[in-house]
C-alpha cells in the first residue's frame, strides 16, 4: 500500500513536531498581541505534548504518534511582572519567536529530506 510509505515513525513524528511549531507560533503571536492587555495570561504549547511525543517515539508506533494532538494551554509557570497581572514578557517572547523560527526551519527541512530520500529510492535519480 502506498500509505505505508508515509507511515514511518520518523516521518510521522517530524510532521507532528511541525504541527506543534505552527501552533506555538499562534500562541506567541497571541502573547505579543496582548502585550499590554491587563490580566492577560500567556499561553504556550501544553507541556504534556512533548512528553507524550517522546514516549510515543520511544515506542516506535506510528499510529500512536499520529494520534497525538498538540494543544495550547495557559502557561502556569509565568509570573506577572507588573501590577496589571499580565504575564507576558516582551524580551522572552521575542526570543521564543526566533527559537520557533529556527525549529520551523529544522522541521520543514527534515520533512523535505525524508520525502527527497523516498523519491530518490523510487526513481534512482537525484533531482
Amino acid at each position: 500500500m502506498i500509505s505505508a510509505l508515509f507511515n514511518q515513525p520518523d516521518y510521522v513524528a517530524a510532521k507532528k513536531s511541525l504541527d506543534a511549531v505552527v501552533l506555538r507560533q499562534e500562541a506567541i503571536a497571541s502573547n505579543i498581541a496582548n502585550l499590554e492587555t491587563p490580566g492577560y495570561k500567556r499561553i504556550d504549547l501544553a507541556p504534556a505534548f512533548r512528553t507524550e511525543l517522546e514516549r510515543a517515539c520511544a515506542g516506535g508506533n506510528a499510529q500512536q504518534i499520529a494520534s497525538l494532538k498538540p494543544a495550547l494551554a495557559p502557561d502556569a509557570a509565568a509570573v506577572a511582572q507588573s501590577r496589571d497581572g499580565n504575564t507576558v514578557n516582551l524580551e522572552s517572547e521575542m526570543m521564543q519567536l526566533n527559537q520557533n523560527a529556527v525549529a520551523n526551519t529544522l522541521e520543514t527541512q527534515l520533512v523535505s529530506t525524508m520525502l527527497y530520500r523516498l523519491k530518490l529510492a523510487i526513481t534512482g535519480k537525484s533531482s
Partner: protein
C-alpha cells in the same frame, strides 16, 4: 480555520489596536492646549482600554485570544489651573483651566505603543518566513 500565516489574526488585531492607541495619543497631544472643546469645557485626556477577545471557535478547537479596543475612556483627573489673566477663558481670579494632558506621559505612551507595533510586525515577518519554508517542502 486554515491560515497561511499562522497567528496572523491575533497580530492583525493587535496592529489595529495599537494604531488606534497612537491615534488617540496624537489627539491628546494635539489638544494639549484646548481650553474650550465642543462642550465649552477644557479638553479631557482620552485613554484606550484594551481587552483580549476570543476568536470564533472552529471545530471546537480553542484558538488563541486576539486583542481589541474595549473602549476609549476619558481621564477624570481635574484640569490643570494656570494663572493667565489675559486669557479669554480665564475666570474671575485670572485662572485658566487647561486640559489634564501631560505631554511627557503622552510621549512615553507613544513610544510604548510604537514598540508594541514593531514587535507585532516582527511576528508577521517571522510567520511569513515560516509560510515560505512550508511552501518549499518537497523542493530539492
Amino acid at each position: 480555520m486554515v491560515q497561511i500565516l499562522s497567528g496572523i489574526q491575533s497580530t492583525a488585531a493587535a496592529l489595529n489596536a495599537e494604531r488606534t492607541r497612537i491615534d488617540v495619543i496624537s489627539e491628546n497631544i494635539a489638544n494639549a492646549n484646548t481650553t474650550r472643546g465642543l462642550d465649552g469645557k477644557p479638553y479631557q485626556r482620552q485613554i484606550v482600554v484594551f481587552e483580549s477577545a476570543l476568536q470564533q471557535a472552529v471545530n471546537n478547537q480553542t484558538e488563541p485570544p486576539t486583542l481589541r479596543v474595549a473602549r476609549i475612556e476619558k481621564d477624570t483627573r481635574p484640569p490643570q489651573m494656570v494663572y493667565e489673566p489675559g486669557h479669554p477663558d480665564a475666570d474671575a481670579h485670572g485662572m485658566v483651566a487647561m486640559p489634564n494632558v501631560d505631554i511627557h506621559e503622552e510621549m512615553a505612551d507613544m513610544i510604548s505603543a510604537s514598540r508594541a507595533f514593531e514587535a507585532n510586525l516582527a511576528v508577521v515577518k517571522n510567520a511569513r518566513a515560516m509560510a515560505l519554508q512550508a511552501l518549499s517542502i518537497g523542493k530539492h
